[in-house]
């Protein structure tokens, strides 16, 4: 649900990074945070366990500049990927405008990817959204690892609606901004339609 403030001339949108545990959602946000100019970003908040696993969410506010005189602000959130945090994961999707699914390209994580997309679809439905219509991007992360599934196979198994897909190595930033741009564009195009 985009928040349009005519008084302060701001558009605020919410993007959620979803995906299985240890897939690189937080790493995506950390890379964006590190590479964004200080005036364009707020503080990054990570509610994590002592072992640095996401407990509730990570949050990063970004200003992307102005469009038709309105400051365009994106609030980036990650969800906790571990299966047993489903109640928390569901909460973060409230009011979402666009979703990035960060898939782990490793062979042994394929089942987890599939399960997580199924879970995303379910949780979106509970909030009255539909994965078929919501702005959505699929990222194949960890392409630098040796034991990865081919991109063709990932696409065949994980692609939901011919959404844009990006190969990524979040630790070094490959594909990270392309992914963000793609989902942000879809959100703005949606805004135009309304």
């Amino acid at each position: 649900m985009t928040f349009i403030n005519y008084a302060s001339k701001e558009i605020n949108c919410k993007i959620v990074y979803y995906g299985p545990g240890l897939g690189g959602k937080t790493t995506n946000l950390q890379y964006i945070y590190n590479k964004t100019a200080p005036e364009a970003k707020g503080k990054m908040i990570s509610l994590a366990t002592e072992a640095d696993r996401t407990l509730f969410f990570d949050f990063l506010p970004l200003d992307l500049g102005t469009i038709r005189g309105f400051t365009t602000r994106f609030h980036l959130y990650t969800v906790p990927g571990q299966v047993f945090y489903d109640a928390s994961r569901k909460l973060i999707l409230k009011g979402v405008d666009g979703v990035v699914f960060v898939a782990d390209s490793q062979h042994e994580r394929m089942e987890a990817n599939i399960e997580s997309i199924r879970n995303l679809e379910e949780n979106l439905t509970e909030h009255g959204f539909d994965l078929k219509t919501i702005p959505y991007v699929l990222q194949f992360n960890k392409r630098d690892l040796p034991n990865v599934v081919s991109v063709e196979e990932l696409y065949r198994v994980l692609n939901f609606k011919r959404e844009p897909t990006f190969e990524a190595v979040a630790t070094t930033g490959v594909g990270v901004f392309d992914t963000l741009k793609s989902v942000a564009k879809q959100i703005l195009v949606e805004l135009r339609k309304r």
Binding site: M1, T2, F3, I4, N5, Y6, A7, S8, I11, N12, K14, G42, K43, I45, L47, F56, F57, F59, P61, L64, G65, I67, R68, G69, F70, T72, H75, A87, S88, K90, L91, I92, K94, G95, G128, F129, K181, A184, K185, L188, V189, L191, R192, K193, R194
Partner: protein
């Protein structure tokens, strides 16, 4: 899913209501936040707080507490109170969709804050009702297209070119 649109007139009415609350409750700062974590309006010593982080964490806090309420069969916990050594935070739900946050110290008291929040909530609810009505009229009037209907692909690309 409808967007949340805030026009100047209601924004100023909300700000006035928050300023009044902050004064009458003798609070340090008052924030009104959308349940999705976006700040709507604020009053008081706001420069002392990171309001974006505050909005996001408060919304997370309220969402988690709502989840807890449902787990034990309650509809919601409408008030949350965090007591610190010097600073305290009073959080309450307004008009089902917004969160009112009052930050106060020893110059005020929980009793006073609760009392003033109750009155302010009624005022805020009226403003929200007006906003909803205005929103419905705006969508009903075909003659007033949103400024975003004219966004071009170039506008969008320009955002990412820097």
């Amino acid at each position: 899913m409808t967007d949340f649109v805030l026009y100047e007139e209601e924004f100023h009415r909300l700000e006035d209501a928050l300023m009044r609350l902050r004064q009458e409750a003798n609070a340090r700062a008052v924030f009104l936040i959308d349940k999705n974590g976006q700040q709507i309006a604020s009053a008081g010593e706001i420069e002392n707080f990171d309001s974006t982080s505050l909005a996001s964490l408060t919304a997370g806090n309220v969402a988690a507490t709502d989840g807890l309420a449902k787990l034990i069969g309650e509809r919601e916990f409408s008030v949350l109170f965090h007591e610190g050594q010097q600073e305290h935070i009073h959080i309450s739900i307004v008009a089902r969709r917004a969160i009112l946050v009052v930050i106060f110290d020893e110059r005020s008291s929980l009793g006073l804050v609760r009392l003033r929040v109750k009155r302010a909530s009624a005022d805020l609810e009226k403003i929200f009702e007006a906003m909803v009505q205005k929103g419905e009229t705006a969508t009903g009037a075909a003659g007033s297209p949103s400024p975003f209907s004219e966004i071009t692909d170039d506008d969008i690309d320009a955002l990412f070119s820097e």
